[in-house]
């Protein structure tokens, strides 16, 4: 199939960006979206143009590096799918794809489609860990965890930190990311001792960088890992309880 691509090009964080139009010819339905970009980049290189910069690493939907807006949707049209796992069979001959980087004030564009997501690291640094000497792993059955709880924690832990929630949110809010990290640790007994300080520090760090949730639900539908809005309610509850009890 042949496609028209309108891709955001921007040389540097300060430069003016603009959409450039490219033709992608002979695209195979089995190609991944990133392979399609690779081939386009090769053509650009061989004809003496700058290739399009985009972030990627694992290409199997687990690292969270990839992610662009495709036709106004974070990670494109397929649900529960990271950009690297999106295949060209989702599109048809003659389609025009508009490809734009995540937009949030604190996700500044580094180049083309690459943004700086380090505020997510700040949020993790604020409390997204358990500060206990771990040593060797203890016998798993020593700490009983109800099945429902471990399922919920595992579902939250599936977050790959790609930033699609912020990108998709009309308010540029990072509640889904932060909530997934809070839920993943606060639900489990290992995270228990620090649950209050964790949620307070993580929420307050998040608020320094991002907007606030108005419960649109866009993040949930954009999330490649299907993280649920329930985690946001859980985070709000944990924060409230923590504020009440710490006074």
């Amino acid at each position: 199939m042949d496609l028209t691509l309108r891709v955001w090009r921007q040389e540097s964080p300060e430069a003016e960006g603009r959409f450039e139009t490219y033709r992608a010819v002979d695209v195979q339905p089995d190609m991944s979206f990133l392979e399609m970009l690779d081939i386009l980049n090769e053509k650009l290189l061989t004809s003496g143009f700058e290739p399009i910069a985009f972030d990627h690493d694992c290409r199997e939907g687990i690292c969270g590096s990839c992610g662009v807006m495709i036709n106004g949707q974070a990670h494109g049209p397929q649900r529960n799918t990271a950009t690297c796992q999106l295949h060209m069979r989702e599109f048809s001959d003659g389609d025009t794809l508009v490809i734009e980087p995540w937009r949030a004030t604190n996700f500044p564009i580094i180049r083309d489609l690459v943004v700086d997501r380090s505020p997510f690291d700040r949020i993790i640094t604020a409390g997204g860990y358990i500060s206990a000497p771990t040593g060797s792993a203890p016998e798993a059955n020593l700490i009983p965890v109800p099945k429902e709880t471990s399922d919920a924690a595992m579902d939250a832990a599936a977050c790959i930190g790609c930033g699609a929630c912020v990108a998709a949110c009309p308010n540029g809010a990072a509640q889904l990311f932060t909530a997934a990290k809070v839920a993943h640790l606060n639900l489990l007994p290992q995270g228990g001792p620090e649950r209050r300080s964790r949620v307070e520090r993580m929420v307050e760090t998040m608020e320094e960088y991002f907007g606030s949730c108005t419960n649109h639900g866009e993040c949930e539908s954009a999330c490649p890992k299907g993280i649920s809005l329930d985690n946001i309610a859980l985070m709000n509850r944990e924060y409230l309880l923590s504020k009440i009890r710490s006074r």
């Binding site: 809010a173 929420v203 606030s212 419960n215 504020k243």
Partner: protein, 246 residues
């Protein structure tokens, strides 16, 4: 770009509840709790309005009596209108101010979070019309409220020249018989419907009230609430337009 959230300089911010309100999440709690108060109010107001349909008994319209009953709440122990002011009007005004202030300040924070907008059109999946127009529906309801108070509560001459203090039925009918006013009331009720449609489920999320067993009822509650309240409110102007109430 960091939002400026250094340590609170204002000593008032050491008061626990204010220090929570200082955070965005705290403002969401305030938004939700004041929203619950306002939802209670509009439900009560809607039910009260239905007295219009009881017409008159012994020369006195039932809704006029109801208005007087409200002013005479607790008359056995307190001066007239004191209970109305202390337990209804002032708390409502406070809830309104909190609701508006938190909305204003969260909107500013959200705008700051995405200073450069998307340059290509967005394709929304989950955000519905109601959720994306909360600010507008809120502003419409606020402007309407100003008119409504001037029209039927205070009786400002320029707004409602036929106003007669205490004659609720008469004021209602004479005001809503003017078509621009009628249109305004109906439009404002629709804006309120959209606002409640999203707000009444959103508040559960903001307050962290969720449970797998009752999550499915949250939107159901919100949508039913919006439909019932709007239906009840619209009944009066519709009845006036149809000549059922005159």
């Amino acid at each position: 770009m960091l939002k400026n959230r250094g340590p609170a300089r204002n000593p008032l911010m050491r008061i626990p509840i204010l220090s929570v309100y200082r955070t965005d999440t705290g403002k969401k709690y305030a938004m939700a709790i004041s929203g619950v108060v306002l939802l209670g109010f509009i439900l009560g107001h809607m039910i009260g309005n239905l007295h219009v349909f009881e017409g008159a008994h012994g020369g006195e319209y039932r809704i006029d009596e109801y208005g007087e009953e409200l002013r005479e709440l607790g008359i056995q122990f307190f001066p007239r209108t004191l209970v109305l002011w202390a337990f209804i009007r002032i708390p409502l005004a406070v809830a309104f101010l909190i609701h508006i202030h938190s909305a204003y300040s969260l909107t500013r924070s959200n705008r700051a979070a995405r200073q450069t907008r998307y340059q290509s059109p967005r394709n929304y999946l989950a955000a519905d019309y109601a959720s994306r127009t909360m600010r507008w529906s809120g502003i419409i309801v606020l402007l309407f409220l100003a008119w409504h108070l001037a029209d039927l509560t205070i009786g400002v001459e320029a707004v409602n020249p036929d106003f007669v203090r205490g004659s609720v039925y008469h004021n209602l009918v004479s005001s809503l018989s003017r078509w621009p006013v009628w249109v305004l009331y109906v439009a404002a009720q629709l804006a309120l419907a959209f606002h409640v449609w999203h707000g009444a489920w959103s508040l559960f999320q903001s307050l962290g009230l969720n449970h797998p067993r009752f999550n499915q009822f949250r939107p159901l509650f919100a949508h039913t609430f919006a439909v019932v309240v709007t239906g009840g409110f619209l009944a009066v102007p519709v009845a006036i337009a149809l000549g059922i109430v005159a």
